[in-house]
């Protein structure tokens, strides 16, 4: 079938997937898409009709499958070795984690997962600290005390420096190697951001060789061909999520919404018409969430409206 027909089909699939969310409310956007071309409704109907027939698919057998912690297509060498781990060593490695750590049945590591708005601090055996923002997943491995993996979300690392044994943080397929330091890492969909508040880190020493000193940051996309560009930042705002202060300079609203969700569990959705707006300014995570959201609305030139358990920003 012709390429544009495939594109229509892909869009129709996107609508179908989105509409399965009971909270879906972009019916006007959907209507706009239908109005673009009479063919759109026909393609959508054919697919939606098939989708409805899928209701006849048998439910999964009763057994609950435990999904692997890492995507199955991630390179194998990254996984920790499969030797048995020692419960005692692990107990020693975790000081502040209270009974919430779950064992990853496929590796030897410990997986720490935080709910949106939940902040947690983990002390490692070597004295290093990891402050984990909400909505994040961090894996540590008692067998590798100088290693942590940020699977998703955001964490601030305060690392005790050892000359011959650098601390390594892995995220996506990037490696961040400390040279005695405190730094914040965010792992989003196909992007890694690193900001350094103390000391020096090396970003991908064997590939990009980017050296970051205190007051510097990078944003690296997974598909970038070149090493990420280093920019200057305000040291005092690094890891601002810990004190409830988020500072932005022309950040897309969607990114701000993602941070609010992670840091404070605030659900903010961005209406399509407002998606292209960017935000510049500081947000204080106020105990009164209305206040934080109305600040965001006022500063971005949008209107905040309650929706379900959160807000929607419209233009």
């Amino acid at each position: 079938m012709p390429a544009d027909a495939n594109a229509i089909e892909a869009r129709a699939i996107d609508w179908l997937i989105r509409q399965r969310d009971p909270d879906f409310d972009d019916w006007d956007g959907f209507a706009d898409w239908l109005a673009e071309d009479g063919e759109h409704a026909a393609v959508y109907d054919a697919l939606a009709s098939l989708d409805r027939d899928l209701g006849a698919l048998p439910r999964d057998r009763g057994n609950v499958r435990i999904a692997p912690a890492a995507p199955s297509d991630s390179p194998a060498p990254r996984r920790p070795s499969r030797r048995a781990w020692f419960g005692g060593a692990m107990a020693a490695a975790l000081v502040a984690v209270i009974g919430v750590s779950t064992l990853n049945p496929f590796g030897n590591g410990t997986r720490i997962e935080t709910a949106a708005g939940e902040h947690r601090t983990v002390a490692l055996a070597d004295g290093s600290l990891i402050e984990i923002n909400g909505g994040s997943v961090v894996e540590i491995d008692p067998e590798r005390p100088r290693f942590a993996r940020l699977e998703s979300g955001e964490a601030m690392f305060h690392v005790v420096h050892r000359e011959k044994d650098p601390f390594v943080v892995e995220t996506g397929d990037a490696r961040i190697v400390d040279l005695g330091t405190a730094f914040n890492v965010v792992r989003r969909a196909r992007q890694t951001s690193v900001a350094v508040s103390e000391g020096i880190v090396l970003y991908n020493p064997d590939r990009d060789k980017v050296r970051l000193v205190a007051g510097q940051a990078i944003d690296a996309g997974d598909d970038d061909r070149r090493p990420p560009a280093v920019r200057s930042i305000d040291v005092s705002s690094v890891g601002g999520w810990r004190s409830g202060l988020l500072v932005y300079n022309e950040a897309p609203l969607a990114l701000v919404a993602e941070d609010l969700k992670r840091t404070a569990g605030i659900d903010v959705r961005i209406a399509p018409a407002a998606a292209s707006l960017s935000f510049r300014g500081a947000l204080i995570i106020d105990p009164d969430r209305n206040r934080t959201v109305s600040d965001l609305a006022a500063l971005s030139g949008t209107t905040a409206r309650r929706q379900d358990n959160g807000w929607i920003l419209t233009r």
Partner: protein, 204 residues
């Protein structure tokens, strides 16, 4: 993470600006509240349908109703007002979804009539077309299952959780330790495979 850039002074300046403009934001909030008050449960779904009549009719039109959009609006009215429902969080969205389903039902009834006419003389059993009945055969459903499995273990599992178990993308992402975009990409992949299979059904 924030893009840490502004100095702290700049920060407080912008914050003051925010406070000054907050009143405006609140005013518009109130306005929004008032306009949705028409959707108050006291007035019921009728109020929402009336207040959004043009919007819903336009939706039915672009959805393929053409000339009969006005009639279908009446159908929708009957469907929604006759049925006793509990409180609805977002009544307009609820009405739009019902309108969308109404159009899909029409499509399916028409398709069924078409298929029945095709099979005329073979095994016509005289049943009236119904939107509820499945349009694919048991054999085709097996092919669907095979096609889902063929997309790979992870996409197939994600798709089952999403479409069969009704889990949200966010929940699936959390339970599998994957990003939302990975979940979305896998779902698209499976749906694309099913769309291709559907074209084969049509051709066959």
């Amino acid at each position: 993470m924030a893009l840490y850039d502004d100095s702290i002074t700049g920060t407080f300046l912008t914050r003051r600006g925010g406070a000054a403009r907050r009143d405006m934001a609140f005013q518009s909030n109130q306005f929004m509240t008032r306009s949705t008050d028409r959707a108050d449960p006291a007035q019921g779904i009728e109020g929402v349908l009336l207040a959004n009549r043009d919007r819903i009719i336009r939706f039915l039109q672009v959805r393929g109703a053409g000339e009969s959009a006005e009639d279908l609006f009446q159908d929708l009215w009957m469907r929604l007002t006759e049925r006793a429902t509990g409180p609805i969080a977002d009544p307009l969205s609820y009405a739009m979804r019902a309108a969308n389903n109404l159009m899909l039902d029409r499509y399916r009834s028409a398709r069924q009539r078409e298929l029945r006419d095709k099979a005329w003389g073979e095994a016509s059993d005289g049943h009236e077309p119904s939107a509820e009945a499945s349009l694919i055969s048991r054999q085709q459903l097996k092919q669907v299952q095979a096609a889902i499995a063929a997309t790979g273990e992870r996409p197939a599992h994600i798709f089952r959780r999403f479409r069969v178990d009704g889990a949200s993308q966010r929940d699936i992402a959390q339970e599998m330790g994957l990003s939302l975009s990975t979940i979305e990409a896998d779902l698209r992949k499976v749906y694309a495979a099913l769309a291709a299979l559907r074209r084969q059904f049509d051709a066959g």
